[in-house]
C-alpha cells in the first residue's frame, strides 16, 4: 500500500465521502456529497445503467476502492454481481443489454485520451437515449470520474483487489 498524501479528519459519520480526505476541504465537501446523492437519486437513467458507467470508470481509472464497491440501489435494479462482472474488456459479446453496452461505449468515449466519439457511436447514442438522458449520464460520469481520480491521486490504496462491499441505499442519501 502506498502512503496517502492526505488523510481524513478523525471521526466517522458513516458517509464514505464525509469520512474521506475530501473532508479536508469544507468549501466543496457538502456540494460533493449533495452531487453524489443527486446522481443516485435524481438521474434520468436507471440505477443499473449508472452502475455500469461507474464500474467502467472505476476499472479504467483503476481505483481499487471504487472497483470493490457495489451500490445496493443498482443491485435492486437488476445489476447482479454476475452482470457487473460483464463490464469488462469483452463486454460487447456479453449478456449485457444493448443500452448497457452503449453506456459502456459512452464511458469509453469520455475516458479516452483525448475524449471523443465517432459519428457512428454518436448516432447510436442519439437513437437510444434522449438528450436529457445523455446529459444525465455525462453528469454521472464526471462525478464518478473526478471522485475516483481524486482517490487515486491522494493515494494510500492497497495494491491488490478488495472484497466486494455493498453500499446501502442510505449511503446515497447524503
Amino acid at each position: 500500500m502506498s502512503t496517502a498524501r492526505a488523510t481524513a479528519p478523525s471521526g466517522t459519520t458513516g458517509n464514505p465521502i464525509r469520512d474521506s480526505a475530501l473532508a479536508r476541504v469544507p468549501e466543496t465537501l457538502e456540494e460533493i456529497i449533495a452531487l453524489n446523492s443527486a446522481v443516485w437519486t435524481r438521474s434520468l437513467v436507471s440505477a443499473s445503467l449508472l452502475e455500469v458507467l461507474r464500474l467502467r470508470n472505476a476499472r479504467t481509472v483503476n481505483c481499487v476502492f471504487c472497483k470493490a464497491v457495489r451500490y445496493e440501489v443498482a443491485r435492486e435494479d437488476g445489476l447482479t454481481e454476475e452482470r457487473a462482472s460483464m463490464v469488462d474488456a469483452n463486454y460487447e459479446g456479453s449478456a449485457l443489454s444493448p443500452r448497457e453496452k452503449l453506456a459502456v461505449a459512452l464511458a469509453d468515449a469520455y475516458l479516452g485520451f483525448p475524449a471523443g466519439m465517432s459519428p457512428e457511436l454518436a448516432a447510436r447514442l442519439q437513437r437510444e437515449f434522449t438528450p436529457e438522458q445523455l446529459a444525465s449520464m455525462f453528469v454521472a460520469l464526471m462525478t464518478f470520474n473526478f471522485t475516483s481520480r481524486t482517490a487515486v491521486s491522494i493515494g494510500g490504496m492497497p495494491e491488490g483487489p478488495l472484497p466486494v462491499t455493498v453500499l446501502p441505499r442510505a449511503a446515497t442519501s447524503g
Binding site: 498524501r5 492526505a6 488523510t7 480526505a21 475530501l22 479536508r24 476541504v25 468549501e27 466543496t28 456540494e31 460533493i32 449533495a34 452531487l35 443527486a38 446522481v39 435524481r42 438521474s43 434520468l44 481509472v61 483503476n62 459512452l106 468515449a109 469520455y110 475516458l111 485520451f113 483525448p114 475524449a115 471523443g116 466519439m117 465517432s118 459519428p119 454518436a122 448516432a123 447514442l125 442519439q126 438528450p131 436529457e132 445523455l134 446529459a135 444525465s136 455525462f138 453528469v139 454521472a140 460520469l141 464526471m142 462525478t143 470520474n145 473526478f146 471522485t147 481520480r149 481524486t150 487515486v152 491521486s153 491522494i154 493515494g155
Partner: protein, 162 residues
Amino acid sequence: MSEPLSPTSIDLDRALAAAGTPAASFARLWQSLWVAPYVSAELLELCRLTLARLHRDAAELGAPNPHLDAGTPGAARRAAVLGGIVHRTDGFSGAERAVLQFAECYGLDAQRIPDETADAVKASLGEAGLVFLIEALGCLDGRIRTARCLRDLGRSAAGVHA
C-alpha cells in the same frame, strides 16, 4: 442537444441543464472552485489551459473565462503554459510552478503523480490545498472531456462530420 453545439468546460452547464438536479449541483461545485481560498482563479485558469493543451483542444484553449478579469492571465504566462515551458520561464512563483507541474502530471496519468510533485504542492498549499487542487483538476478535466463528447454529439445531430 438543443443547447450550444460547441460547449467548452466554461459554458458546459447550459448544455447539461436538462439533466436537472445533478447538473445544478455540479454547476454549483464548479462555481465554488473559482472562489475557494486555496488556488487563485488565475492559477486555476492556468491549470485549465494546461489540461486543454494536453487534450489538444483548440475550442477549449480559445474559450474566454468569465471568472477572470480581461487580460488575465497575461500573454507571457499564458504562452508559457501553452508551450509547456513554465519550468524554464520567469514570472512564476514556486507555488505556481508546483501546482502547474502537478496539473501536468494529473492530466497525463493521475495514478503516476510523483511523490515529490505532490509534496511540493503540499508544502505550498497545505494538505487541504492539495486535496482541493486534486478535486479541481478532476472537475476541470471532466468538463473538458464532456464538452468534447457533446461537440461530437452536436456535429452528429447536425449531420456534420469532422
